[in-house]
């Protein structure tokens, strides 16, 4: 029984390492690639490896929603827009270190240091003692029950947010089409 548990532990650690490094590597690729098309493809890898991390944290429903909503719907929209605009390349690391690049890297490093220091101060104390979980933890039934009981307001507000985003998208597309028409655009 102990042997089985330790083999399982090693497997979970291995999966965690692969997923974590894929996650960070693809995030760096998104930031570094010149072509927005490749950046969007790298973000799909980032989202998929995040879904693996969610599964390791027993969040099955969120992992499934991540793959469906993000890696599916949102990324299709992104790739569509990149294809439509014919993604211009801008090289982030080309032309030697400018003040712009140095400032950006310094600010990101400051944020990272802050976060790691805060986690390090708190680590080992409460962060390493997880509560036991029920079998239903993270299942669709549990999430659905919470959405329709404790978090009903959040559920309803989310639908209004999505509706207003859809209306906003339509209005933005409509106005820009009007400016395309030279007969209308010439008018004050």
């Amino acid at each position: 029984m102990i042997v089985v548990a330790s083999v399982g532990n090693v497997v979970v650690w291995a999966v965690w390492f692969v997923a974590a490094f894929a996650c960070i590597g693809s995030a760096l690729a998104v930031v570094s690639f010149q072509n927005p098309f490749f950046s969007a493809l790298a973000l799909i890898g980032n989202l998929a490896s995040l879904a693996v991390l969610y599964l390791l944290l027993n969040a099955e429903f969120v992992a499934a929603a991540q793959v469906l909503v993000y890696a599916g719907a949102v990324m299709v929209m992104f790739l569509f827009v990149v294809a439509y605009l014919g993604g211009e390349a801008d090289a982030p690391w080309a032309g030697g270190p400018s003040w712009h690049v140095i400032g950006a890297v310094a600010a990101a490093a400051a944020i990272l240091t802050e976060i790691v220091v805060v986690i390090g101060v708190k680590a080992g104390d409460r962060l390493s003692r997880e509560e036991d979980i029920r079998a239903a933890f993270g299942s669709p039934a549990e999430i659905g029950r919470l959405f329709l009981t404790d978090h009903l307001l959040a559920f309803e507000v989310t639908s209004i947010v999505l509706l207003s985003a859809a209306v906003g998208g339509v209005i933005l597309g409509h106005h820009s089409r009007r400016f395309d028409d030279p007969a209308i655009a010439d008018r004050p």
Binding site: G8, W13, W16, C23, I24, A27, V30, V31, P36, S39, A40, L43, N46, L50, L53, L56, L57, A59, F61, V62, V69, Y70, V74, M77, F78, V81, Y84, L85, G87, E88, D90, H100, A104, V105, A107, I111, I115, I119, G124, R126, S128, E130, E131, R134, G138, E142, I143, L146, D150, H151, V161, L162, A165, A166, G168, G169, L172, G173, S176, F179
Partner: protein, 102 residues
């Protein structure tokens, strides 16, 4: 819990957040700025789900799904703005958008 404890997931989430912030500050193309914002949101989501596992309550996951819905709305509006910019023949470069004297 099998595997690494919640601390390590939080470290990954912090790294993702700062890589996303690096992308927002570094890149000029608004498309990649939007992608970097997505990375930042996902870093925050990973922290929410890790804390949800730490406390053994599913409420953090509900919060993460709400964040996902807001991120999807943000992408719709952001991409709509970028398409509108390109249709008005504005440069797709966040440093050159200075109509608001930014």
């Amino acid at each position: 819990m099998l595997g690494p404890d919640v601390t390590w997931y939080l470290v990954i989430s912090g790294i993702l957040f700062s890589v996303g912030a690096l992308g927002v500050l570094l890149r000029r193309s608004p498309l990649i700025v939007l992608l970097s914002v997505e990375i930042m949101l996902n870093g925050a989501n990973l922290a929410l789900i890790a804390f949800s596992r730490l406390h053994g309550e599913s409420d953090g996951q509900v919060f993460a799904i709400a964040v996902m819905a807001v991120a999807a709305s943000e992408v719709v509006v952001g991409l709509g703005l970028i398409v509108a910019m390109s249709r008005r023949n504005l440069a797709l470069d966040v440093d050159r958008l200075t109509s608001l004297r930014g």
